[in-house]
Amino acid sequence: MKIVVCIKQVPNTNEIRIDPIKGTLIRDGVDSIMNPDDKAGLETALSLKDSNPEITITVLTMGPQQATAILREAVAMGADEAILLTDRTFAGADTWATSLTIANAIRKIGFDLIICGRQAIDGDTAQVGPQIAEHLGIPHVSYVSNVEPKENYLLVKREFEDFYQKIKVPTPCLITALSSMNKPRYMRVGRIFDAYRNLEIKTMGQADIDIDPEELGLKGSPTRVRKTETKQAKKSGVVLELDAKESAEKIVTTLAEKYII
Protein backbone atom coordinates (compact mmCIF):
# COMPACT_ATOMS: atom_id res chain seq x y z
CA MET A 1 0.00 0.00 0.00
CA LYS A 2 1.36 3.39 -0.96
CA ILE A 3 0.32 6.42 1.08
CA VAL A 4 1.01 9.94 -0.13
CA VAL A 5 0.84 12.55 2.61
CA CYS A 6 0.52 16.19 1.54
CA ILE A 7 2.12 18.63 3.96
CA LYS A 8 2.52 22.39 4.03
CA GLN A 9 5.05 24.68 5.66
CA VAL A 10 3.29 27.47 7.55
CA PRO A 11 4.37 30.27 9.90
CA ASN A 12 4.04 29.28 13.55
CA THR A 13 0.98 31.33 14.39
CA ASN A 14 1.66 30.99 18.11
CA GLU A 15 4.61 33.30 17.55
CA ILE A 16 3.09 35.69 15.04
CA ARG A 17 3.00 39.37 15.79
CA ILE A 18 1.18 42.03 13.80
CA ASP A 19 2.88 45.26 12.78
CA PRO A 20 0.69 47.80 14.61
CA ILE A 21 1.10 50.45 11.89
CA LYS A 22 1.00 48.47 8.64
CA GLY A 23 -1.39 45.84 9.97
CA THR A 24 0.68 43.11 8.31
CA LEU A 25 2.35 39.98 9.67
CA ILE A 26 5.85 40.40 11.03
CA ARG A 27 7.47 37.33 9.53
CA ASP A 28 11.04 38.08 10.62
CA GLY A 29 12.17 35.66 13.26
CA VAL A 30 8.95 33.63 13.08
CA ASP A 31 9.60 29.91 12.80
CA SER A 32 8.09 27.87 10.05
CA ILE A 33 6.43 24.66 11.11
CA MET A 34 4.66 21.70 9.56
CA ASN A 35 0.94 22.54 9.48
CA PRO A 36 -0.64 20.82 12.52
CA ASP A 37 -3.49 19.07 10.63
CA ASP A 38 -0.94 17.78 8.09
CA LYS A 39 1.28 16.51 10.90
CA ALA A 40 -1.69 14.58 12.30
CA GLY A 41 -2.23 13.18 8.78
CA LEU A 42 1.41 12.07 8.68
CA GLU A 43 1.05 10.45 12.11
CA THR A 44 -2.02 8.57 10.84
CA ALA A 45 0.05 7.23 7.93
CA LEU A 46 2.92 6.31 10.27
CA SER A 47 0.67 4.43 12.66
CA LEU A 48 -0.86 2.51 9.74
CA LYS A 49 2.72 1.64 8.76
CA ASP A 50 3.50 0.55 12.35
CA SER A 51 0.94 -2.23 11.98
CA ASN A 52 1.73 -2.97 8.34
CA PRO A 53 5.43 -2.57 7.50
CA GLU A 54 4.72 -3.09 3.80
CA ILE A 55 3.18 0.38 3.62
CA THR A 56 5.40 3.02 2.06
CA ILE A 57 4.90 6.68 2.86
CA THR A 58 5.76 9.49 0.47
CA VAL A 59 5.52 13.05 1.77
CA LEU A 60 4.90 15.79 -0.71
CA THR A 61 4.94 19.54 -0.41
CA MET A 62 4.65 22.37 -2.90
CA GLY A 63 6.75 25.42 -2.16
CA PRO A 64 10.17 27.03 -2.36
CA GLN A 65 13.42 25.30 -1.39
CA GLN A 66 12.99 26.34 2.27
CA ALA A 67 10.03 23.95 2.44
CA THR A 68 12.48 21.02 2.41
CA ALA A 69 12.80 21.56 6.19
CA ILE A 70 9.37 20.00 6.80
CA LEU A 71 10.09 17.19 4.34
CA ARG A 72 13.22 16.36 6.33
CA GLU A 73 11.19 16.55 9.54
CA ALA A 74 8.63 14.13 8.05
CA VAL A 75 11.36 11.67 7.07
CA ALA A 76 12.92 12.02 10.54
CA MET A 77 9.50 11.04 11.94
CA GLY A 78 9.43 7.94 9.73
CA ALA A 79 8.31 8.74 6.16
CA ASP A 80 10.14 6.78 3.46
CA GLU A 81 10.45 9.30 0.69
CA ALA A 82 10.16 13.08 0.23
CA ILE A 83 9.20 15.07 -2.84
CA LEU A 84 9.34 18.83 -3.30
CA LEU A 85 7.07 20.29 -5.97
CA THR A 86 8.78 23.47 -6.99
CA ASP A 87 8.83 25.63 -10.09
CA ARG A 88 8.65 29.33 -10.85
CA THR A 89 5.44 28.73 -12.77
CA PHE A 90 3.77 27.41 -9.56
CA ALA A 91 4.15 30.76 -7.76
CA GLY A 92 1.05 32.71 -6.76
CA ALA A 93 -1.27 29.70 -7.02
CA ASP A 94 -4.67 29.76 -5.33
CA THR A 95 -6.29 26.57 -4.06
CA TRP A 96 -7.52 25.59 -7.54
CA ALA A 97 -4.10 25.85 -9.24
CA THR A 98 -2.39 24.32 -6.18
CA SER A 99 -4.68 21.30 -6.09
CA LEU A 100 -4.37 20.82 -9.87
CA THR A 101 -0.56 20.87 -9.59
CA ILE A 102 -0.48 18.48 -6.63
CA ALA A 103 -3.08 16.13 -8.17
CA ASN A 104 -1.05 15.78 -11.34
CA ALA A 105 2.13 15.17 -9.39
CA ILE A 106 0.42 12.49 -7.29
CA ARG A 107 -0.98 10.84 -10.43
CA LYS A 108 2.65 10.48 -11.60
CA ILE A 109 3.86 9.21 -8.22
CA GLY A 110 1.06 6.64 -7.80
CA PHE A 111 -0.99 6.04 -4.65
CA ASP A 112 -3.52 3.91 -2.80
CA LEU A 113 -4.35 6.50 -0.17
CA ILE A 114 -3.79 10.26 -0.03
CA ILE A 115 -3.84 12.00 3.33
CA CYS A 116 -4.06 15.77 3.61
CA GLY A 117 -4.55 17.96 6.64
CA ARG A 118 -8.02 19.43 7.02
CA GLN A 119 -6.77 22.97 6.51
CA ALA A 120 -3.64 25.09 6.88
CA ILE A 121 -3.36 27.53 9.75
CA ASP A 122 -2.21 30.32 7.42
CA GLY A 123 -4.95 30.16 4.74
CA ASP A 124 -7.68 28.22 6.56
CA THR A 125 -9.50 27.32 3.33
CA ALA A 126 -9.82 23.54 3.76
CA GLN A 127 -10.17 23.36 -0.03
CA VAL A 128 -6.94 21.82 -1.34
CA GLY A 129 -7.53 18.28 -0.05
CA PRO A 130 -11.05 17.80 -1.48
CA GLN A 131 -10.04 19.54 -4.73
CA ILE A 132 -7.13 17.11 -5.23
CA ALA A 133 -9.64 14.25 -4.93
CA GLU A 134 -11.95 15.89 -7.48
CA HIS A 135 -9.11 16.41 -9.96
CA LEU A 136 -8.16 12.75 -9.57
CA GLY A 137 -11.76 11.54 -9.69
CA ILE A 138 -11.52 9.58 -6.44
CA PRO A 139 -13.73 9.60 -3.33
CA HIS A 140 -12.73 11.70 -0.36
CA VAL A 141 -13.77 12.08 3.26
CA SER A 142 -12.97 15.28 5.12
CA TYR A 143 -12.66 16.02 8.89
CA VAL A 144 -11.43 12.52 9.65
CA SER A 145 -10.64 11.64 13.25
CA ASN A 146 -10.00 7.92 12.92
CA VAL A 147 -9.01 5.43 10.21
CA GLU A 148 -9.34 1.65 10.36
CA PRO A 149 -7.95 -0.23 7.39
CA LYS A 150 -10.19 -3.10 6.22
CA GLU A 151 -10.07 -5.42 3.23
CA ASN A 152 -10.41 -3.15 0.14
CA TYR A 153 -11.83 -0.24 2.06
CA LEU A 154 -11.20 2.09 4.98
CA LEU A 155 -13.61 2.61 7.86
CA VAL A 156 -13.25 6.27 8.73
CA LYS A 157 -14.82 8.45 11.36
CA ARG A 158 -15.89 11.88 10.14
CA GLU A 159 -16.36 14.51 12.83
CA PHE A 160 -19.02 17.19 12.94
CA GLU A 161 -19.65 19.67 15.71
CA ASP A 162 -22.12 17.52 17.60
CA PHE A 163 -22.15 14.17 15.84
CA TYR A 164 -19.97 11.91 13.74
CA GLN A 165 -20.36 9.61 10.76
CA LYS A 166 -18.71 6.26 10.22
CA ILE A 167 -18.03 5.91 6.53
CA LYS A 168 -16.80 2.99 4.47
CA VAL A 169 -14.65 4.40 1.71
CA PRO A 170 -13.09 2.27 -1.03
CA THR A 171 -9.42 2.80 -1.89
CA PRO A 172 -7.90 4.58 -3.72
CA CYS A 173 -9.25 7.60 -1.87
CA LEU A 174 -8.31 10.79 -0.06
CA ILE A 175 -8.95 11.79 3.52
CA THR A 176 -8.37 15.09 5.30
CA ALA A 177 -7.12 14.76 8.87
CA LEU A 178 -7.90 16.72 12.03
CA SER A 179 -5.04 17.75 14.29
CA SER A 180 -7.04 16.50 17.26
CA MET A 181 -7.05 12.90 15.96
CA ASN A 182 -3.68 11.91 17.41
CA LYS A 183 -0.47 13.07 19.02
CA PRO A 184 2.25 13.10 16.37
CA ARG A 185 5.38 11.20 17.32
CA TYR A 186 8.74 12.85 17.87
CA MET A 187 11.48 12.65 15.29
CA ARG A 188 14.08 9.95 15.97
CA VAL A 189 17.64 11.13 16.60
CA GLY A 190 19.24 8.79 14.06
CA ARG A 191 16.67 9.68 11.40
CA ILE A 192 17.31 13.41 11.96
CA PHE A 193 20.99 12.85 11.16
CA ASP A 194 20.09 10.82 8.07
CA ALA A 195 17.52 13.36 6.93
CA TYR A 196 20.08 16.16 7.04
CA ARG A 197 23.20 14.30 5.98
CA ASN A 198 22.10 11.63 3.50
CA LEU A 199 18.52 12.20 2.35
CA GLU A 200 18.00 13.02 -1.26
CA ILE A 201 14.84 15.04 -1.75
CA LYS A 202 13.33 14.50 -5.17
CA THR A 203 12.05 17.60 -6.89
CA MET A 204 9.30 17.82 -9.49
CA GLY A 205 8.69 20.88 -11.64
CA GLN A 206 6.31 21.95 -14.36
CA ALA A 207 8.03 19.72 -16.92
CA ASP A 208 7.37 16.65 -14.75
CA ILE A 209 3.62 17.04 -14.37
CA ASP A 210 2.35 17.64 -17.92
CA ILE A 211 0.21 20.70 -17.37
CA ASP A 212 0.02 23.77 -19.52
CA PRO A 213 1.83 26.62 -17.67
CA GLU A 214 -1.26 28.75 -18.33
CA GLU A 215 -3.14 26.58 -15.82
CA LEU A 216 -0.49 26.94 -13.12
CA GLY A 217 0.46 29.54 -10.54
CA LEU A 218 -1.06 32.99 -10.65
CA LYS A 219 -2.14 32.59 -14.28
CA GLY A 220 -4.11 29.46 -13.52
CA SER A 221 -5.76 30.92 -10.42
CA PRO A 222 -9.35 32.11 -10.78
CA THR A 223 -9.32 33.64 -7.27
CA ARG A 224 -8.98 37.42 -7.21
CA VAL A 225 -8.44 39.14 -3.86
CA ARG A 226 -10.50 42.35 -3.88
CA LYS A 227 -9.61 43.60 -0.46
CA THR A 228 -7.97 42.50 2.78
CA GLU A 229 -8.64 44.03 6.13
CA THR A 230 -7.33 43.53 9.62
CA LYS A 231 -9.82 42.48 12.22
CA GLN A 232 -9.85 44.70 15.26
CA ALA A 233 -8.81 43.01 18.45
CA LYS A 234 -11.78 42.11 20.59
CA LYS A 235 -11.96 42.98 24.24
CA SER A 236 -10.75 40.20 26.44
CA GLY A 237 -13.50 37.87 27.59
CA VAL A 238 -14.75 37.27 31.10
CA VAL A 239 -14.27 33.91 32.74
CA LEU A 240 -16.89 32.95 35.30
CA GLU A 241 -16.72 29.73 37.23
CA LEU A 242 -20.32 28.75 37.87
CA ASP A 243 -22.28 25.54 37.84
CA ALA A 244 -24.14 24.49 34.68
CA LYS A 245 -27.51 26.02 35.59
CA GLU A 246 -26.08 29.35 36.71
CA SER A 247 -23.82 29.45 33.62
CA ALA A 248 -26.79 28.93 31.29
CA GLU A 249 -28.77 31.66 33.03
CA LYS A 250 -25.82 34.04 32.92
CA ILE A 251 -25.28 33.41 29.18
CA VAL A 252 -28.96 33.98 28.39
CA THR A 253 -29.13 37.22 30.42
CA THR A 254 -25.91 38.55 28.91
CA LEU A 255 -27.03 37.81 25.35
CA ALA A 256 -30.42 39.38 26.07
CA GLU A 257 -28.77 42.48 27.52
CA LYS A 258 -26.83 42.91 24.29
CA TYR A 259 -30.01 42.37 22.23
CA ILE A 260 -28.44 39.33 20.57
CA ILE A 261 -31.40 37.16 21.54
Partner: protein, 379 residues
Amino acid sequence: MDFSFAKEYEVCRSMFRDFAQNEVKPLAEEVDEEERFPAETVKKMATCGMMGIPIPKEYGGAGADTLTYILAVEELSKACGTTGVILSAHTSLCAVPILEYGTEEQKQKYLIPLAKGEKLGAFALTEPNAGTDAAAQQTIAEDCGDYYLMNGSKIFITNSGYADIFIIMAMTDKKAGTRGISAFILERGTPGFTIGKHEKKMGIRGSSTCELIFEDVKVPKENLLGKLGRGFGLSMKTLDGGRIGIAAQALGLAQGALDETISYTKERKQFGRAISKFQNTQFQLAEMHCKTEAARNLVYKAAWKKDQKQPFSVDAAMAKLFASETAMEVTTKAVQLHGGYGYTREYSVERMMRDAKITEIYEGTSEVQRMVIAGSILR
Protein backbone atom coordinates in the same frame (compact mmCIF):
# COMPACT_ATOMS: atom_id res chain seq x y z
CA MET B 1 36.59 28.97 14.15
CA ASP B 2 32.84 28.44 13.92
CA PHE B 3 30.50 28.45 16.91
CA SER B 4 27.36 27.68 14.90
CA PHE B 5 25.66 24.30 14.86
CA ALA B 6 24.96 22.34 11.70
CA LYS B 7 21.21 22.08 11.04
CA GLU B 8 20.94 18.46 12.31
CA TYR B 9 22.16 19.55 15.75
CA GLU B 10 19.69 22.43 15.85
CA VAL B 11 16.83 20.12 14.87
CA CYS B 12 17.90 17.53 17.47
CA ARG B 13 18.09 20.21 20.13
CA SER B 14 14.66 21.50 19.26
CA MET B 15 13.27 17.93 19.38
CA PHE B 16 14.91 17.33 22.79
CA ARG B 17 13.48 20.65 24.00
CA ASP B 18 9.95 19.75 22.88
CA PHE B 19 10.30 16.32 24.44
CA ALA B 20 11.57 17.75 27.73
CA GLN B 21 8.87 20.42 27.91
CA ASN B 22 5.99 18.08 26.97
CA GLU B 23 7.00 14.74 28.48
CA VAL B 24 9.48 15.48 31.26
CA LYS B 25 8.62 18.83 32.83
CA PRO B 26 5.02 17.88 33.72
CA LEU B 27 6.35 14.94 35.79
CA ALA B 28 9.34 16.66 37.41
CA GLU B 29 7.62 17.78 40.60
CA GLU B 30 5.93 14.43 41.20
CA VAL B 31 9.10 12.45 40.46
CA ASP B 32 10.92 14.52 43.09
CA GLU B 33 8.15 14.60 45.67
CA GLU B 34 7.42 10.87 45.48
CA GLU B 35 11.04 9.79 44.87
CA ARG B 36 9.69 7.94 41.84
CA PHE B 37 11.84 6.63 39.00
CA PRO B 38 10.20 7.88 35.76
CA ALA B 39 10.24 4.52 33.94
CA GLU B 40 7.57 5.66 31.48
CA THR B 41 9.79 8.55 30.35
CA VAL B 42 12.68 6.17 29.73
CA LYS B 43 10.41 4.13 27.43
CA LYS B 44 9.42 7.26 25.54
CA MET B 45 13.06 8.32 25.21
CA ALA B 46 13.77 4.92 23.66
CA THR B 47 11.13 5.45 20.96
CA CYS B 48 12.88 8.70 19.98
CA GLY B 49 16.27 6.99 19.75
CA MET B 50 17.60 8.87 22.78
CA MET B 51 18.98 5.89 24.70
CA GLY B 52 21.85 5.25 22.31
CA ILE B 53 22.62 8.63 20.77
CA PRO B 54 26.43 8.28 20.34
CA ILE B 55 26.26 4.54 19.57
CA PRO B 56 26.70 3.48 15.92
CA LYS B 57 23.63 2.25 14.06
CA GLU B 58 24.99 -1.28 13.65
CA TYR B 59 24.78 -1.59 17.44
CA GLY B 60 21.23 -0.25 17.69
CA GLY B 61 22.14 3.38 18.32
CA ALA B 62 21.32 6.62 16.56
CA GLY B 63 24.76 6.90 14.97
CA ALA B 64 25.07 10.49 16.19
CA ASP B 65 27.81 11.74 18.53
CA THR B 66 28.75 12.94 22.01
CA LEU B 67 27.73 16.53 21.27
CA THR B 68 24.20 15.46 20.32
CA TYR B 69 23.95 13.29 23.43
CA ILE B 70 25.13 16.24 25.55
CA LEU B 71 22.39 18.43 24.07
CA ALA B 72 19.85 15.80 25.11
CA VAL B 73 21.13 15.65 28.71
CA GLU B 74 21.15 19.46 28.87
CA GLU B 75 17.58 19.85 27.62
CA LEU B 76 16.23 17.05 29.84
CA SER B 77 17.99 18.52 32.89
CA LYS B 78 16.52 21.96 32.25
CA ALA B 79 13.19 20.33 33.05
CA CYS B 80 14.24 17.55 35.45
CA GLY B 81 17.68 16.73 36.88
CA THR B 82 16.60 13.16 37.63
CA THR B 83 15.80 12.40 34.00
CA GLY B 84 19.08 13.97 32.87
CA VAL B 85 21.21 11.72 35.05
CA ILE B 86 19.29 8.58 34.08
CA LEU B 87 20.32 9.18 30.46
CA SER B 88 23.84 10.24 31.40
CA ALA B 89 24.67 7.20 33.56
CA HIS B 90 23.06 4.81 31.07
CA THR B 91 24.91 6.22 28.07
CA SER B 92 28.29 7.43 29.31
CA LEU B 93 28.92 4.84 31.99
CA CYS B 94 27.44 1.68 30.53
CA ALA B 95 26.77 1.78 26.78
CA VAL B 96 29.90 3.74 25.79
CA PRO B 97 32.45 1.57 27.68
CA ILE B 98 30.91 -1.57 26.15
CA LEU B 99 31.26 0.09 22.73
CA GLU B 100 34.86 1.09 23.44
CA TYR B 101 36.12 -1.98 25.31
CA GLY B 102 33.64 -4.76 24.57
CA THR B 103 34.18 -7.80 22.38
CA GLU B 104 31.94 -8.22 19.33
CA GLU B 105 29.92 -10.84 21.24
CA GLN B 106 29.47 -8.46 24.20
CA LYS B 107 28.34 -5.68 21.87
CA GLN B 108 25.82 -7.97 20.18
CA LYS B 109 24.49 -9.27 23.48
CA TYR B 110 24.54 -6.15 25.66
CA LEU B 111 25.15 -2.99 23.66
CA ILE B 112 22.32 -3.45 21.14
CA PRO B 113 19.53 -3.70 23.75
CA LEU B 114 21.10 -0.85 25.74
CA ALA B 115 21.30 1.45 22.71
CA LYS B 116 17.76 0.58 21.65
CA GLY B 117 16.60 1.43 25.16
CA GLU B 118 15.18 -2.07 25.70
CA LYS B 119 17.57 -2.43 28.63
CA LEU B 120 18.85 0.14 31.11
CA GLY B 121 22.51 0.39 32.12
CA ALA B 122 24.46 1.19 35.29
CA PHE B 123 28.10 1.38 36.35
CA ALA B 124 29.49 0.37 39.73
CA LEU B 125 32.84 1.56 41.02
CA THR B 126 32.09 3.27 44.37
CA GLU B 127 32.22 1.21 47.56
CA PRO B 128 31.70 2.13 51.22
CA ASN B 129 35.48 2.51 51.58
CA ALA B 130 36.37 3.43 47.99
CA GLY B 131 34.93 6.81 47.03
CA THR B 132 37.40 9.35 45.73
CA ASP B 133 40.06 6.75 46.57
CA ALA B 134 38.57 4.49 43.92
CA ALA B 135 41.62 2.22 43.87
CA ALA B 136 40.78 0.91 47.36
CA GLN B 137 38.38 -1.69 45.89
CA GLN B 138 37.31 -4.46 48.23
CA THR B 139 34.94 -6.32 45.91
CA ILE B 140 36.81 -9.34 44.66
CA ALA B 141 36.43 -11.53 41.60
CA GLU B 142 38.36 -14.73 42.01
CA ASP B 143 39.36 -16.76 38.98
CA CYS B 144 37.74 -20.17 39.41
CA GLY B 145 38.62 -21.63 36.05
CA ASP B 146 35.29 -21.51 34.18
CA TYR B 147 34.07 -18.37 35.89
CA TYR B 148 34.96 -15.55 38.28
CA LEU B 149 33.50 -15.72 41.77
CA MET B 150 32.45 -12.25 42.86
CA ASN B 151 31.98 -11.14 46.45
CA GLY B 152 31.59 -7.71 47.95
CA SER B 153 29.34 -4.67 47.64
CA LYS B 154 28.93 -1.29 45.96
CA ILE B 155 27.09 1.83 47.04
CA PHE B 156 25.47 4.90 45.48
CA ILE B 157 24.95 3.18 42.12
CA THR B 158 22.86 5.36 39.78
CA ASN B 159 19.97 3.61 37.95
CA SER B 160 20.61 0.41 39.91
CA GLY B 161 17.04 -0.29 41.04
CA TYR B 162 15.89 -0.37 37.40
CA ALA B 163 19.03 -1.33 35.48
CA ASP B 164 19.31 -4.63 33.60
CA ILE B 165 22.99 -4.49 32.68
CA PHE B 166 25.76 -3.44 35.08
CA ILE B 167 29.46 -2.78 34.67
CA ILE B 168 31.16 -3.81 37.90
CA MET B 169 34.71 -3.15 39.04
CA ALA B 170 36.34 -5.83 41.16
CA MET B 171 39.79 -6.86 42.36
CA THR B 172 41.12 -9.80 40.42
CA ASP B 173 44.61 -9.50 41.93
CA LYS B 174 44.81 -7.92 45.37
CA LYS B 175 48.58 -7.60 45.29
CA ALA B 176 48.73 -5.71 42.00
CA GLY B 177 47.14 -2.44 43.25
CA THR B 178 45.28 -0.54 40.53
CA ARG B 179 46.61 -3.10 38.03
CA GLY B 180 44.65 -5.72 39.95
CA ILE B 181 41.25 -4.19 39.18
CA SER B 182 39.13 -5.61 36.33
CA ALA B 183 35.78 -4.66 34.80
CA PHE B 184 32.89 -7.11 34.35
CA ILE B 185 29.47 -7.04 32.75
CA LEU B 186 26.82 -8.42 35.06
CA GLU B 187 23.15 -9.02 34.32
CA ARG B 188 20.36 -8.34 36.77
CA GLY B 189 19.05 -11.61 38.12
CA THR B 190 22.40 -13.40 38.14
CA PRO B 191 22.24 -15.71 41.21
CA GLY B 192 23.89 -14.12 44.26
CA PHE B 193 23.60 -10.58 42.85
CA THR B 194 21.05 -8.50 44.74
CA ILE B 195 20.06 -4.86 44.88
CA GLY B 196 20.23 -3.48 48.42
CA LYS B 197 19.08 -0.36 50.18
CA HIS B 198 17.63 2.52 48.17
CA GLU B 199 19.24 5.79 49.27
CA LYS B 200 17.06 8.72 50.31
CA LYS B 201 18.72 11.74 48.79
CA MET B 202 18.65 15.53 48.99
CA GLY B 203 18.15 15.95 45.25
CA ILE B 204 17.69 13.97 42.02
CA ARG B 205 15.23 12.08 44.19
CA GLY B 206 13.62 10.15 41.36
CA SER B 207 16.97 8.70 40.32
CA SER B 208 17.36 5.18 41.63
CA THR B 209 20.48 5.04 43.83
CA CYS B 210 21.03 1.73 45.60
CA GLU B 211 23.68 -0.55 46.98
CA LEU B 212 24.67 -3.71 45.14
CA ILE B 213 25.50 -6.92 46.99
CA PHE B 214 27.51 -9.81 45.53
CA GLU B 215 27.45 -13.13 47.35
CA ASP B 216 29.31 -15.87 45.51
CA VAL B 217 28.18 -14.54 42.15
CA LYS B 218 29.46 -16.68 39.29
CA VAL B 219 30.44 -14.26 36.54
CA PRO B 220 31.00 -16.00 33.19
CA LYS B 221 34.54 -15.65 31.85
CA GLU B 222 33.27 -14.04 28.66
CA ASN B 223 31.84 -11.18 30.76
CA LEU B 224 35.26 -9.70 31.51
CA LEU B 225 35.12 -6.22 29.93
CA GLY B 226 38.43 -5.12 28.46
CA LYS B 227 41.65 -6.76 29.54
CA LEU B 228 42.28 -8.45 32.86
CA GLY B 229 43.76 -5.96 35.33
CA ARG B 230 42.85 -2.94 33.22
CA GLY B 231 39.59 -2.07 34.97
CA PHE B 232 40.96 0.95 36.80
CA GLY B 233 42.13 2.63 33.59
CA LEU B 234 38.82 1.71 31.94
CA SER B 235 36.97 3.32 34.86
CA MET B 236 38.99 6.51 34.72
CA LYS B 237 38.53 6.84 30.95
CA THR B 238 34.82 6.08 31.29
CA LEU B 239 34.46 8.71 34.00
CA ASP B 240 36.21 11.26 31.78
CA GLY B 241 33.33 10.81 29.32
CA GLY B 242 30.78 10.62 32.12
CA ARG B 243 31.93 13.97 33.45
CA ILE B 244 30.86 15.66 30.23
CA GLY B 245 27.41 14.15 30.79
CA ILE B 246 27.23 15.40 34.37
CA ALA B 247 28.55 18.80 33.24
CA ALA B 248 25.67 18.88 30.75
CA GLN B 249 23.23 17.96 33.52
CA ALA B 250 24.61 20.84 35.63
CA LEU B 251 24.40 23.17 32.65
CA GLY B 252 20.77 22.21 32.09
CA LEU B 253 19.93 22.81 35.76
CA ALA B 254 21.58 26.25 35.64
CA GLN B 255 19.77 27.21 32.44
CA GLY B 256 16.46 25.84 33.71
CA ALA B 257 16.76 27.87 36.93
CA LEU B 258 17.76 30.98 34.98
CA ASP B 259 14.77 30.63 32.62
CA GLU B 260 12.39 30.24 35.56
CA THR B 261 13.92 33.27 37.28
CA ILE B 262 13.71 35.50 34.20
CA SER B 263 9.97 34.86 33.87
CA TYR B 264 9.37 35.15 37.61
CA THR B 265 11.18 38.48 38.00
CA LYS B 266 9.24 39.93 35.07
CA GLU B 267 5.95 39.05 36.74
CA ARG B 268 6.64 39.53 40.43
CA LYS B 269 5.83 43.08 41.51
CA GLN B 270 7.20 44.83 44.58
CA PHE B 271 7.17 48.56 45.30
CA GLY B 272 4.86 49.04 42.34
CA ARG B 273 6.98 47.49 39.62
CA ALA B 274 8.31 44.19 38.34
CA ILE B 275 11.39 43.18 40.31
CA SER B 276 13.22 42.75 36.97
CA LYS B 277 13.24 46.55 36.81
CA PHE B 278 15.54 46.74 39.81
CA GLN B 279 19.23 46.96 39.08
CA ASN B 280 20.10 44.35 41.69
CA THR B 281 17.91 41.80 39.87
CA GLN B 282 19.39 42.78 36.52
CA PHE B 283 22.96 42.41 37.76
CA GLN B 284 22.22 39.03 39.33
CA LEU B 285 20.57 37.79 36.12
CA ALA B 286 23.45 39.10 34.00
CA GLU B 287 25.94 37.22 36.17
CA MET B 288 23.85 34.02 36.06
CA HIS B 289 23.56 34.24 32.28
CA CYS B 290 27.29 34.89 31.74
CA LYS B 291 28.38 31.97 33.89
CA THR B 292 25.84 29.61 32.33
CA GLU B 293 27.02 30.56 28.86
CA ALA B 294 30.67 30.13 29.87
CA ALA B 295 29.82 26.69 31.27
CA ARG B 296 28.03 25.83 28.02
CA ASN B 297 31.13 26.66 25.98
CA LEU B 298 33.32 24.45 28.19
CA VAL B 299 30.84 21.58 28.04
CA TYR B 300 30.35 21.71 24.26
CA LYS B 301 34.10 22.03 23.70
CA ALA B 302 34.83 18.94 25.81
CA ALA B 303 32.15 16.99 23.88
CA TRP B 304 33.53 18.24 20.58
CA LYS B 305 37.07 17.17 21.49
CA LYS B 306 35.84 13.70 22.42
CA ASP B 307 34.07 13.48 19.06
CA GLN B 308 37.24 14.63 17.29
CA LYS B 309 39.12 11.81 19.07
CA GLN B 310 41.38 14.40 20.73
CA PRO B 311 42.51 14.07 24.37
CA PHE B 312 39.66 15.50 26.45
CA SER B 313 40.25 14.47 30.11
CA VAL B 314 41.25 17.95 31.26
CA ASP B 315 38.51 19.60 29.20
CA ALA B 316 35.97 17.24 30.77
CA ALA B 317 37.31 18.06 34.25
CA MET B 318 37.12 21.81 33.58
CA ALA B 319 33.64 21.50 32.11
CA LYS B 320 32.38 19.48 35.07
CA LEU B 321 34.04 21.69 37.70
CA PHE B 322 32.81 24.94 36.22
CA ALA B 323 29.36 23.76 35.17
CA SER B 324 28.58 22.10 38.50
CA GLU B 325 29.75 25.08 40.56
CA THR B 326 27.82 27.36 38.21
CA ALA B 327 24.72 25.21 38.67
CA MET B 328 25.03 25.53 42.44
CA GLU B 329 25.58 29.28 42.26
CA VAL B 330 22.87 29.99 39.69
CA THR B 331 20.22 27.84 41.38
CA THR B 332 21.05 29.45 44.77
CA LYS B 333 20.65 32.90 43.24
CA ALA B 334 17.45 31.76 41.55
CA VAL B 335 15.99 30.79 44.93
CA GLN B 336 17.12 34.13 46.37
CA LEU B 337 15.48 36.09 43.56
CA HIS B 338 12.25 34.12 44.08
CA GLY B 339 12.35 35.22 47.75
CA GLY B 340 10.09 33.34 50.16
CA TYR B 341 8.27 31.64 47.28
CA GLY B 342 11.58 30.24 46.05
CA TYR B 343 12.03 28.41 49.34
CA THR B 344 8.71 26.61 48.92
CA ARG B 345 8.12 23.49 46.85
CA GLU B 346 5.57 25.42 44.79
CA TYR B 347 8.42 26.71 42.64
CA SER B 348 10.82 24.46 40.77
CA VAL B 349 13.97 26.46 41.62
CA GLU B 350 13.93 24.90 45.09
CA ARG B 351 14.16 21.43 43.50
CA MET B 352 16.81 22.59 41.05
CA MET B 353 19.00 23.89 43.88
CA ARG B 354 18.80 20.52 45.65
CA ASP B 355 19.45 18.70 42.35
CA ALA B 356 22.48 20.90 41.56
CA LYS B 357 24.44 19.95 44.69
CA ILE B 358 25.16 16.38 43.59
CA THR B 359 26.83 17.58 40.38
CA GLU B 360 29.70 18.89 42.54
CA ILE B 361 30.08 15.46 44.10
CA TYR B 362 29.41 12.48 41.84
CA GLU B 363 31.59 11.19 39.00
CA GLY B 364 34.53 12.94 40.66
CA THR B 365 34.14 15.69 43.24
CA SER B 366 35.08 19.29 42.45
CA GLU B 367 38.28 18.64 44.42
CA VAL B 368 39.18 15.73 42.13
CA GLN B 369 38.54 17.90 39.07
CA ARG B 370 40.89 20.55 40.51
CA MET B 371 43.55 17.87 41.02
CA VAL B 372 43.19 16.73 37.41
CA ILE B 373 43.34 20.29 36.08
CA ALA B 374 46.26 21.37 38.29
CA GLY B 375 48.12 18.18 37.40
CA SER B 376 47.85 19.00 33.73
CA ILE B 377 49.30 22.49 34.06
CA LEU B 378 52.05 21.70 36.56
CA ARG B 379 53.59 18.87 34.57
